[in-house]
Symmetry: C2
Subunit: 417 residues, 2 copies
């Protein structure tokens, strides 16, 4: 089954909004055994949508469309769909009733325009929206003389609503349609290596013909994605297991997890398993490390506290970094990173202390301490380890890279504690 994702929205084609919906949909499709062959995004102009719907329907068995189903004037998808498929819009009383109920339940006055959302192309099924008013649309289309069969699914563009309808109504149907899938994928996630280093490792591994390998760098983390097409699922799994073993042999600890696992997930598991608690002192990362750590449900069990010590006074008074150390070595130094890690650990009474200090820029750099210079330290009862890095890029890129490697430092340290 060939699928395409069609995203409707001028906010997408103009670049105002990043198309996160398409990535989510593609991932969920793949997990349901449906490979996505293209993403197309077009502005919310009715004639353009009509053409785009016809074009994608011609080349794909399944088209998932998002956007333009809401109640406002710039929501023109339903009527464009009607035109593209020659299925005039019909008011569906059952959907109208649900729209009214939603407004009542949320103590909001029913907007007359909201009822527009209850008009669907003839023959379409409404997919209930558990978190909003615009229903999803499921439409089965048959070509002349049964020449082809197509499925068109339209979902709202609001990510929360799109996801809710996808999970509840669309995926169960697609899984049934896809039957036993021959697609198996595995992603090995690495941190701290560059793309070419991973490619060197790959060269030493025999990759079977049925497997594709893709490398996906994100700053200082590279994902290695293995995809097997064709064959049976057990044979695909055997291939994946063999290649994974070989890559783990070559890449070692640089592989921190797989598939959806994040660095903070792995850290959370390790800290929980080893019953360790943590405190963090951030300077140049400004809270980003703590934000990542607290994305993990249950992180309150091991993260005692975190301090963004932007001001030297905070480094001194709260974290106990000696004034002399700050004066002698400067706030961005191995000595201050160590003292911050020890200090935050002492202050929180935690097993581990993690600290980051650096120059995120664009200002504040000097020839001896340029923008992008970052020291990070991890401290426990056995002592303190410090690392020095020189990152490149703008302020946000430096914050992100520093956060990636600080989490990695913590991960490696916690695993060996």
């Amino acid at each position: 089954m060939r699928a395409a994702i069609l995203s409707i929205g001028s906010e997408l084609t103009s670049g105002q909004t990043v198309n996160t919906n398409a990535a989510y949909l593609a991932r969920r499709l793949q997990e349901a055994g449906v490979a996505c062959a293209r993403h197309l995004a077009v502005p919310d102009e009715a004639p353009v949508i009509v053409d785009a719907v016809r074009e994608t329907l011609a080349g794909h068995h399944l088209v998932i469309l998002t956007g333009g189903l809401g109640p406002t004037f710039d929501d023109v998808t339903a009527s464009a769909l009607a035109q593209a498929t020659n299925r005039p819009l019909r008011f569906v009383p059952e959907v109208g009733r649900r729209v009214r109920l939603f407004y009542r339940a949320h103590h909001r006055r029913l907007n007359r325009l909201a009822l527009r959302q209850a008009s669907l192309p003839r023959g379409a099924q409404a997919l209930p929206n558990p978190v909003g008013t615009a229903p999803g649309i499921w439409l089965e289309l048959n070509g002349p003389a049964g020449g082809y069969h197509r499925t068109l699914v339209a979902l709202p563009g609001v990510p929360r609503e799109m996801r809710a309808i996808m999970e509840r109504s669309v995926l169960p149907r697609l899984r049934r349609m896809a039957g036993r899938s021959s697609i198996a994928t595995r992603t090995l996630r690495t941190v701290g290596l560059v793309e070419l280093q991973i490619q060197e490792a790959l060269r030493a591994v025999r990759i079977p013909r049925v497997m594709q390998v893709g490398l996906y760098p994100n700053l200082l983390a590279v994902d290695v994605r293995l995809t097997v097409t064709g064959g049976s699922l057990p044979s695909a799994r055997r291939h994946l297991n063999r290649v994974e073993r070989a890559l783990r042999h070559h890449l070692g600890e640089a592989i921190y997890g797989q598939d959806d696992q994040t660095l903070e997930d792995v850290i959370g598991k390790t800290l929980t398993r080893n019953r360790l608690t943590l405190a963090v002192a951030e300077s140049c990362t400004g809270g980003l490390v703590s934000d990542h750590l607290t994305d993990v449900p249950g992180s309150s069990r091991y993260l005692i506290m975190s301090v963004v010590a932007y001001h030297n006074r905070v480094k001194q008074e709260l974290l106990g970094v000696p004034e002399a150390t700050l004066k002698r070595y400067g706030a961005v130094s191995a000595q201050v990173a160590s003292a911050m890690a020890r200090g935050v650990r002492r202050c929180a009474g935690s097993d581990l202390g993690l600290a980051i200090t650096g120059i995120a820029g664009p200002g504040g750099g000097t020839p001896r301490k340029p923008v992008g210079l970052v020291y990070m330290a991890v401290s426990d009862r056995r002592g303190t380890v410090v690392k020095r890095y020189q990152f490149h890029g703008d302020r946000l890129a430096i914050k992100s890279q520093a956060a990636q490697l600080a989490l990695d430092l913590l991960r490696r340290h916690a695993a060996n504690t």
Copy 2:
């Protein structure tokens, strides 16, 4: 000039990576006076790329392509381009020399594969890559008998390299090609209102025919994007100014900024202008508010410190929240939010204290205090203001919404301080 963005990469079509490159390119194209009519993403398989290049070239004057130009085995774009345009690849010694120089400058051993990047389609110009090895490709194409003229630009998929080549080489040429542009856009950014409330306001405003209005919600922030096509730039500006004034009249303080301005930018400007300092105590947002605040260059001038007080002990010992208050009202309460805001302000000696406490979930909710319940408070020498919110969604959505409204609370308070 009609432009299309063509993104190459199986990591995009499979959803592993979100296509941030396309959004960046579209924004920069629009600023250069080039409207982007579609985004297309396809997997990195040579025959698919060949078809996609031909297809987008047929319907657009300008095609900007990204991805698959690197040195590794899955980088097949250059040869696909050669095939799609009937321009065989030629090794360009000058580019080869730059690749060698780059490796030498970065003290890395020259990988033989890296030299593949010096082979370009016949007639193509190489666009220097200041931060990596893969050059950009600029290719002018003429149809049979001068029937049409097309420009094809190919850039690496690594965002940093793509952006560097775009800024340095592509945009200056495109600006010259686009000449005086008739496109003017303005985005008014709001926070705290839902889409339909903004639409009510829009109904009271006369929108000229040449203007399109788009609403782009992101959780609790909605951007109102005004676009004028056609006419002269001064007349477009007059239209934009008139509609902006009318919307400001109706939406008032809910409009926090415009175009690329973020809430944290606006807060930074206000705090700097009013010479105010700030300290933050976060619980359920876990560092996200501080991360946003420190995305602003120079934020170290007003942000003294920030504490992620995940553990009650930290709320008591560091922020001075009385144990009795915690016991009586619970950590998620108006009383504790107030005490945290006052406490962090006192601890940091700052003018303002901002605090957030809530239940991000998925666990930890009770019937009386469900997941998504968040209290936030801002404190200054005049007193403390507390707000209570009930958010919906998953852990990350609750963190994000709480951060949006906490920043908004701070923005409104700082503006009136």
